[in-house]
Amino acid sequence: MKVFKKLTVSALTAVIAVTASFAGIAAAADSLKGKITVNGSTALLPLTLQAAKEFQKLHPKVKIAASGKGSVTGPQAVKKGIADIGACDWDASIDVPGFKAFDGQVANKVAVIPFATIVNKNVGVDNLTTEQLQGIYSGKITNWKEVGGSDANIVVVTRAFGSGTRVNYQAKALAGGDIVKKEKNYKETGSSGDMKTAVATTPNAIGYIDLVYVSGSDIKAVKFNGVAATTDNVINGSYKIWAYGYYMTKGQPTGATKEFIDYVQSKKFQNGSLKKLKFIPIAAMKG
């Protein structure tokens, strides 16, 4: 018993000492403090986590808690007062198909996210037009030979309703066209990772995903209206399937939240870590 007590006491002392010394270092740094909660899009989560890490090094008294679920949970959490920042793959302060505008919220652009149409490696098609994609996703075109491929049924993979990727893909690649549920050869996946696996392992499959996920030899990104899906083509304006990622806030951001958003939007972060994560800096876009 005595040994145990001694151990406990010494462990506690050590913990207190360590905490105190850390607090001491923190106090010396600067005066900005506060707690920022970020919720929402999983696509933007890697960016948020990286930014939070760097920001906390600069301002050790600011605590940032970030989590990702789905785009629409971002503005919702802000509305409910659960989060200070709601990461969302679309501008939630205006109406988009399926989702009404969130009143009183301000959209702060933080990044550009390109999306790509992907197909299984066995599909011979290299290019698809807006009309062809509309036909495929609305169920009017069901065979690859109708769009210049071999004679095989098209397997359509899509994301669940309400996914930010789906909202943007529907708006940009399908020009607002429908995604119809078909009897056969139609499948929904829950996340970008599942989407990639499903298309990679299913022959004749077509799907869509963030450009940063396109890698490996089992899937390939097809051209959209003759333009290859590359970050360069997004920046020069010829590739149209991309969207801004937003930090939604209740009214104009203030205090630590404002500082954090400013940091994410700063040239240093945009051209540094953000580019490394394969997003595109917002400054690179002209519209």
Binding site: K69, G70, S71, V72, T73, Q76, K80, G98, N153, V155, A160, F161, G162, S163, K181, K182, E183, K184, N185, Y186, K187, E188, T189, G190, D194, T197, A198, T201, T202, P203, N204
Partner: protein, 316 residues
Amino acid sequence: MGAPVQNLASRAQKSSLAEGGISAKRHNRHLFSNTMFRYYFLFSILALCLVLGLVIVFIGKTALLLFNNISPLDFFFSFNWSPEEEAFGAAAFIVNTLSLTALTLLIAVPVSVGMAVLCAEIAPAWIKSFIRPVLDLLVGIPSIVYGYLGLTVLLPFLRRVSGEGLGDGLLAAALVLALMVLPTICRISDDAIVAVPRKYRDAAYALGSTRLQVIMRVVLPAASRGIISAVILGMTRAVGETMAVVMVIGNTPQLAKTLFTPSSVLTSNIVMQISNVEFDSTWNYALHMMAFLLLLISFVLILIIRILGRNRRDAA
């Protein structure tokens, strides 16, 4: 099993008696610690009940808000689930959930009970000592790993065999689930069979039974209650399993008319949609209602099998 415990108990008694008279202080201390333990366990059970009750009440309360907006008739009997057009018919999910569970048990129960018989009655010791740890290990694998294997190994195989384009559907989900519940059912049945007293077997052999007769007519009926609780545990796991199912069932809200129709069950639909739904919307209430329904379904299934088990025991 009983005999060694008795031996230990009587030995303990003997040794304490040998010390000659326990002091009153020590006696009181034991009484006190016993009482404290009783309160502790009572408190634990009450706390558990409270939490469980709160969960049920919360899910139920949110779920019932649904019927302010749409009629129960629509929810339970309509096959049209298009929440973006305000159509909330969950009948397809309910039917799919029940048929998936039934199909899973159809595949898993014969195999796993057979394996349990093999383990307990037939196999030589070295096979037993190999199979049992392996099965215990299988329980520990996270379900998403099973799902991923289903997606990357099972689906391509089913596609090749069936000639389907997608391969997703009830059969794929049932096969993955069967693999997942197999260790649970097998190990618990195994224990139940091992617990059947040796004298039953000896008596049956003495009457001239063959080994098959002993197993089918004596051992399995005697172990039936244990096997039934094994099936219950397996079934509740199958009904509630989500992550593995989501990856191989196709997630299309329609009735599974064939084994290869991409479809959706209650759990997979909830997990696919709940993170993308607004908090205070009919859609959200509908998903909560589906969760509540799952609770009721497992409750009813367990009840049915309990009653079946009781009847069979009475008859025996």
